[in-house]
Point group: C2
Chain length 425, copies 2
């Protein structure tokens, strides 16, 4: 089965929007083993739309269309698609009632324009939209199967997972089930990852793919089998093997980010953390508090950009700063221990480094960062890294290492990640 | 002149990458008054590529191709484009020497594969790439003008501005010059913005467009005139009129973000700032320190998530917290004043609010946020807002208001933004 993704809207062609729907839809299709051959975008222009629909039907088996389902004059997808394949428009009473209910819930009047969203091409199957006014639909035009979805990403994503993928899975070759998952790793380079997994699951029905999403590397595992149960069991087995090889380098599975994983671990372990940031400038606190409910395990932080703040708020001795410099092992240690004591938490994290453009010396080059992790009743771990990266990525990787140490400490794993980071240290 | 953008690469069709090159290129083309009619992506497949090239030549005047210029076997753009229009490949000695110099500068060996990047279709004009190995090229195939650029965004962007746009400007109808700019506004809704500018520059040679980039609204101004000088003077005049109407609602022009504008103003005014964050959780500090050189005006911050931190680190009286609650006008005020004194800065900013999922009461609903701005030797300004937004956007808009107050204070403008924010307060 060959797929094409067709997104519609003037705003795309004017460059006002970065179209993230295409990559989302293609990645999801690949989870069903369906290859996307073409991405196309056209403006809200009936002639361009008709050409694009007809061409897609000629060259593709499944066509996912996004956009142009709204209630305004510019929204032409339903009408032009019907016309392109000689179908009439028909009112769907169920969809109309559902749109009416949507407005009642909001306490707003339904306009006649909204009623137009209840018309569909003859023969279409309506796909309900639980979080918006525009329903989608599936239309089999003979040469190809069209799925029309709203352009709003949250609505499109939900309808893709709930409505489109199950229907596509049904229509694929009978007796084939596909399951996929994403394993998130941190602390290992892509080529090293590839090398370590080189002899995992060499059978033809398992695909292992790699993707870099700085500072992480993801492993995408897809398996194909004769039944859903068999596919699930095979997926579990392959993931188990990968976990065995990589150990704590795998920090999570699926959409959960590292800050979510760390938050869950802190909550489960009943531990708390505080942070003292110099070069990460608030990023570490921001990431931790981006998780709803973080107040249960995050006491607070200090962004100590100047030396005065390090002394006054974190109890870093002024003599230590004068003798060692702010970017040094002893100062990182004192910051982590100081913030832990100050906030009376189980753990204290600290970062101090040079992310540019000034401050570098021969002994402390641009990109140097010290990261420290203090534990109540335990020894403080400090490590030095030099990352020749731009300012944004330098801060990102430093905050990632710090978060990862909390995860590793709770799991009882070695603190430093084994390959990528060591080689840079 | 009608344009088409064609991006090439398996990774795009597998959904591994969100393709931001297309929106960048379309927006830049529109600055020259060139409309993009189609966006297309195909995999590194010679047949699909050939079809896409030929179809683009039939329906478009200018075709911008990105990707497939690298040194590996998968990089087929040059070869397939030449073949699609019956051209031979020719070695360009200047390009070869330049690739060789690129490797010499890096102290690395040039591989034979890299030499392949110095071959171009007969009749092509080579477009130098100052920051990568892959040069681009322009090829006139008669029906259409092709520009081939590398897929790496930083290389593509630079070559678009330096190489492609000047060549396109030259070939447009003689006697037409186009100039454009982006005005950044904060604190006003899109429809209100539209209303306020409804009678600005109604002539046909001026276009004013609006774009929402939460929490900002941008105004894009494009003018067309008979000469460059005339276009520049006209653009200046229109922007002057918009500035006059909107006053301090316009915070910047071009790519400079609010944190950069605020940083520049603080630096020029010789003022310093410190921040005390509860609901923004470090985001405010993170945004301020994302600007290189922020240490010259940013002393530091406290992320005071718990009440203990507010008392110990910001001198907020425990009785005040008990009597008023952490999310209250007097606590916001005490936090801003406390952090300003603690860090001995000119300004102190504070945020305290409820961004969910818990903590809301009837008097303090979900989405409430107090923002406070303390000045040395001046009165402290505090305002209450209720934003019914998700966690991420709630934090974003709160940090934006706080930053904007610093800007407004230095400029001597009224602190609260006039329309959008008042209506929500």
């Amino acid at each position: 089965m060959k797929a094409e993704i067709l997104t519609i809207g003037d705003e795309l062609l004017r460059g006002e929007i970065v179209d993230s729907n295409k990559s989302f839809l293609s990645e999801r299709l690949l989870d069903l083993d369906i290859e996307t051959r073409f991405h196309t975008s056209v403006a809200d222009d009936p002639e361009d739309m008709r050409d694009a629909f007809r061409r897609a039907a000629q060259r593709s088996d499944a066509v996912l269309v996004s956009g142009g389902l709204g209630p305004t004059r510019d929204d032409l997808t339903t009408q032009v698609l019907a016309h392109s394949f000689g179908r009439e428009l028909r009112l769907d009473e169920t969809a109309l009632a559902s749109i009416r209910r949507f407005f009642e819930r909001l306490g707003r009047e339904m306009s006649p324009n909204n009623a137009s969203q209840a018309y569909f091409p003859e023969g279409a199957e309506v796909l309900p939209n639980p979080i918006g006014t525009a329903p989608g639909f599936m239309l089999d035009v003979g040469e190809a199967l069209f799925f029309c979805l709203p352009g709003v990403p949250s609505e499109l994503r939900r309808m893709m997972d709930e409505q489109v993928l199950p229907r596509l899975a049904e229509r694929r070759a009978a007796g084939v089930a596909v399951r996929a998952t994403l394993l998130r790793t941190f602390g290992i380079g892509e080529s090293n990852l590839d090398h370590q997994l080189r002899d995992v699951a060499l059978e033809g029905d398992v695909t292992i793919g790699f993707r870099t999403a700085f500072p992480d590397n993801y492993v995408r595992v897809r398996v194909r089998a004769a039944s859903a149960a068999e596919a699930e069991s095979k997926l579990e087995q392959v993931c188990g093997e990968i976990h065995k090889r990589l150990g704590p380098i795998v920090y999570g599975e699926g959409p959960e980010t590292l800050e979510h994983v760390v938050g869950r671990l802190l909550l489960d372990a009943g531990r708390t953390v505080a942070v003292a940031e110099s070069c990460t400038g608030g990023l570490l606190a921001e990431r931790i508090t981006s998780v709803p409910g973080a107040s249960q395990y995050f006491a607070g932080g200090v962004v100590a950009y100047g030396n005065a703040a390090k002394t006054a708020l974190l109890n870093v001795p002024a003599e230590l700063l004068a003798a060692e410099g702010a970017v040094s092992e002893p100062v990182a240690r004192a910051m982590a221990e100081g913030v832990r004591e100050r906030f009376a938490t189980d753990f204290g994290l600290a970062t101090t480094g040079i992310s540019g453009p000034t401050g570098a010396t021969e002994a402390t080059p641009l990109g140097t960062v010290y990261i420290a992790f203090a534990r109540q009743g335990g020894s403080t771990h400090v490590d030095r890294f030099v990352f020749a990266l731009d300012r944004v990525r330098h801060r990102t990787i430093a905050s990632q290492i710090a978060l990862d140490w909390v995860r590793r400490a709770i799991l009882g794993a070695e603190l430093a990640a084994p390959t990528l980071l060591r080689s840079k240290g």
